[in-house]
C-alpha cells in the first residue's frame, strides 16, 4: 500500500472522527505556552508546538489523586473505582511517549501499582514529528526525532501535509476511518533535524560518571542558584515521587488517603518521624535529582529516566540547565 498523507487543513476533521470513539487528548495553546487537555472543539488542537507545561503523566498520575477511601463509621478502607475510557493521545512527541514508558516501568516493576496501571489501559498514541527548540536534548538521551517506538500511528510533517504511518492494528483502524481525508503521499524518509542542546557524551555509560562525582563542585555551584522550588520535579515527565496523606472531611465520617506529586528538592522530602532530615544540604538534593535521572533508576533496557524534553530547563526561573550540569561532569 502506497503511503498516505493527511493535509494540515483536515486535522480538525481527523479529530472529529476520533472523537466518535474516543476521548481525544492533544496540545492546545495557553497564553504563550501549550497544555495537553481533552479536546472539546476539534479546531483547538495543534500539532505545532514545542512542548507543553506539564507532560502526559498528569493523565495517569494526577497531581493529586485518591488512592484509598475510608469511613470512620463503617471502619473500612476501600479502593476507588477507576473508570477507564478509551483515549487517543493525538499529536504526541516521541520523547513524551518514551517518558510514559519509563513511568510504566516504574509502576510495574516489583509490586504493580494498579491505581496507575489501570489508567494506562485503552490508550492509543498518535505521534507527530517536531522541530527541537533551544531546550530539547532528546537525541543525547537516545531519542532521535525519528524514533517511533510505541506509537499506533506516526505523523511526519512535510510542507502542508503529515505522512500517516499506521504501526499497529489500532492504528490501521484509525487510518481506515480517516480514509476520505487522506491523499497520496509523495514524501519518503524522515527529516534530518539537529539539536542545539546536547550532552557532550552519549547516554551509554553515563551512569558510571556518577561514581566519581559525589564531591564534584558542580553540585554546590548549582545549589547556589537553586531555590529548591520543585518546579523541575513537577514538570518532569519521568518524576513520579509522591507524598501520601489522610484527610477527614470536616463534619463527616468520610475520609480519603490521597497522593500528591512531591519534590525531592524540598527540604521536607526526607524528613522522618522524630524530625531527622536525611538530605539537609541543598547540594545533596541537587545531586540526588540528577542521580535519579541518570544513574539510580534505569528501565528494563537500561535507559535513563530523562527523555530530554527540556521542560526543567525551560521552566526553571533560576536558569539551571540540566545539560550544562551534566556536561560539567562529562
Amino acid at each position: 500500500m502506497a503511503s498516505k498523507a493527511l493535509p494540515k487543513d483536515k486535522i480538525p476533521q481527523a479529530v472529529s472522527i476520533l472523537k466518535k470513539q474516543y476521548k481525544v487528548i492533544g496540545a492546545t495553546p495557553k497564553g504563550k505556552n501549550f497544555v495537553f487537555k481533552e479536546i472539546e472543539d476539534p479546531n483547538e488542537v495543534t500539532l505545532d508546538y514545542n512542548t507543553t507545561i506539564l507532560p502526559l503523566k498528569k493523565f495517569f498520575l494526577p497531581p493529586r489523586e485518591v488512592i484509598v477511601e475510608f469511613n470512620l463509621q463503617s471502619k473500612e478502607y476501600r479502593g476507588e473505582d477507576i473508570k477507564v475510557e478509551p483515549k487517543v493521545f493525538f499529536g504526541i512527541h516521541n520523547y513524551e511517549l518514551q517518558a510514559v514508558f519509563r513511568l510504566d516501568f516504574a509502576f510495574k516493576n516489583g509490586v504493580s501499582d494498579e491505581t496507575y496501571l489501570k489508567k494506562r489501559e485503552k490508550n492509543v498514541f498518535i505521534g507527530v514529528s517536531y522541530i527541537p527548540d533551544d531546550f530539547h536534548f532528546s537525541e543525547s538521551v537516545g531519542i532521535p526525532t525519528d524514533l517511533k517506538e510505541g506509537f499506533d500511528i506516526f505523523l511526519t510533517r512535510y510542507d502542508s501535509h503529515y505522512r500517516v504511518e499506521a504501526m499497529t492494528e489500532k492504528g490501521r483502524e484509525i487510518e481506515n476511518a480517516w480514509e476520505e481525508l487522506l491523499v497520496p503521499c509523495d514524501y519518503e524518509g524522515d527529516p534530518v533535524v539537529h539539536f542545539k542542546n546536547k550532552l557532550k557524551q552519549s547516554v551509554a555509560g553515563i551512569r558510571e560518571i556518577f561514581h566519581g562525582a559525589y564531591n564534584h563542585p558542580i553540585w554546590k555551584e548549582t545549589a547556589r542558584k537553586c531555590y529548591s522550588c520543585g518546579t523541575c520535579n513537577l514538570v518532569c515527565p519521568t518524576c513520579y515521587c509522591f507524598d501520601v496523606s489522610d484527610e477527614v472531611i470536616l463534619g463527616t465520617d468520610k475520609g480519603v488517603r490521597a497522593r500528591r506529586w512531591d519534590s525531592c528538592q524540598a527540604l521536607v522530602f526526607t524528613k522522618v518521624a522524630g524530625g531527622d532530615v536525611f538530605r539537609e544540604k541543598r547540594y545533596d538534593r541537587v545531586r540526588h535529582r540528577m542521580s535519579r535521572k541518570f544513574a539510580y533508576i534505569m528501565d528494563e533496557k537500561d535507559r535513563p529516566f530523562c527523555v530530554g524534553c527540556g521542560r526543567c530547563v525551560r521552566q526553571c526561573t533560576a536558569d539551571i540547565n540540566i545539560v550544562d550540569v551534566m556536561n560539567a561532569l562529562l
Binding site: R257, D262, R287, A295
Partner: protein, 280 residues
C-alpha cells in the same frame, strides 16, 4: 486486580507498656483467610494505619515462627504513633505488607552472632533473636549489646533477662544517662564491645556475624568499629530507617543512592552500604 494500598484490619490481642512512650502490640488479622496468607520474614516491615490518622512504616518485632500473631513495637513520636499508643486490647489497627527484604537466618547457622541495638532499634532485631534462641543448638555464641538514652528507655526488659539465661547467650546493656537505681554501665553501645570479646587487634572475626539497628549515627560508629575489630563488611548487617510512604518502591522517599530501603532493604550488608553512592 487488587489495590495494594488497601490495608487489612487486625485486632489488638494485647498491648504491653515497654517504656513511658513505647508499647508492644500483639495483633491478629480479623479475617482468618488474611491471617492464613500472612507470611513474613525476620526484618520485614508493615505499613500501619489508624483510621483517619495516616500511615507509617513499622517493623515487625516478633518471630516469623509464631503463626498465631505478630507484634509491633511502637514509640509515640507523632500524631499517628501517639494515637496508636493510646489504643487498647480489642481495638483495631490496619496493616498492609509485609514489605522489604529480611535478615539472613539459615545462612548464618553455625556462626557466632552479635546483635547491637540502640533504643527501639532492638525491635526489628527481636524476631531474629527469638528465632535464633529457639534454635540455639544450630548457632554458636550469641551476644546481645543494647544501649538506650536512659534506663527508662530500655525496651523488652523481661526478655533481655530471659535471653541472658539461654546457654551460650550473653546480654550487655548500657545507657547514656544513668538514673537512680541503675547499677549497670553508662556509655555508648560500642563501649560494650570489649566485654563481648570484640577487640581491635584480636584478629579476624571470620566466624561472627553482626546485626545492627539504631539511629544513623550509632549505626555508623558501631559498624566502623566492628570493621576495625576484624569484622568483614559482608558479615555486618544493618537495618535502615526512612519514611517509606508506599512500601513498594514507588513514592521515592526512601531512595538512598541507587537503592530503595523499602524493597532493596531495610536490611543491608555493610559492604553494600559502603558501596552506596550517597551517605545514608
Amino acid at each position: 486486580m487488587r489495590n495494594d494500598y488497601i490495608p487489612y484490619p487486625a485486632r489488638i490481642v494485647s498491648a504491653r507498656d515497654e517504656t513511658y512512650d513505647t508499647k508492644t502490640f500483639r495483633l491478629k488479622f480479623t479475617e482468618p483467610s488474611v491471617a492464613e496468607d500472612f507470611n513474613f520474614k525476620q526484618g520485614q516491615f508493615l505499613e500501619v494505619s489508624l483510621l483517619g490518622r495516616g500511615e507509617a512504616p513499622i517493623s515487625i518485632c516478633s518471630s516469623p515462627l509464631e503463626r498465631e500473631y505478630f507484634e509491633l513495637n511502637i514509640r509515640s513520636v507523632g500524631s499517628l504513633t501517639g494515637a496508636i499508643c493510646r489504643l487498647k486490647e480489642g481495638d483495631i489497627l490496619y496493616v498492609r505488607g509485609p514489605y522489604g527484604n529480611s535478615f539472613p537466618f539459615k545462612e548464618v547457622k553455625g556462626r557466632d552472632l552479635v546483635f547491637i541495638a540502640g533504643g527501639i532499634g532492638l525491635a526489628p532485631l527481636r524476631g531474629l533473636i527469638q528465632m535464633v534462641l529457639k534454635n540455639k543448638k544450630d548457632f554458636g555464641n550469641v551476644s546481645i549489646l543494647y544501649g538506650a538514652k536512659s534506663p527508662e528507655d530500655l525496651c523488652f526488659r523481661d526478655e533481655l533477662e530471659q535471653w541472658s539465661e539461654v546457654e551460650g547467650t550473653s546480654v550487655y546493656q548500657t545507657v547514656d544517662r544513668a538514673s537512680d537505681g541503675w547499677n549497670g554501665r553508662v556509655g555508648l553501645v560500642t563501649e560494650l564491645y570489649e566485654a563481648a570479646g570484640i577487640e581491635e587487634g584480636a584478629g579476624e572475626m571470620s566466624n561472627t556475624t553482626a546485626f545492627l539497628c539504631g539511629p544513623p549515627v550509632m549505626i555508623r560508629f558501631a559498624a566502623r568499629k566492628l570493621k576495625a575489630c576484624g569484622f568483614k563488611p559482608g558479615n555486618i548487617y544493618v537495618t535502615l530507617e526512612r519514611y517509606m510512604k508506599c512500601g513498594i518502591g514507588k513514592c521515592g522517599h526512601c531512595n538512598i543512592g541507587g537503592v530503595f530501603v523499602c524493597v532493596d532493604g531495610p536490611v543491608f550488608s555493610w559492604e553494600h552500604v559502603e558501596g552506596f553512592t550517597e551517605d545514608f
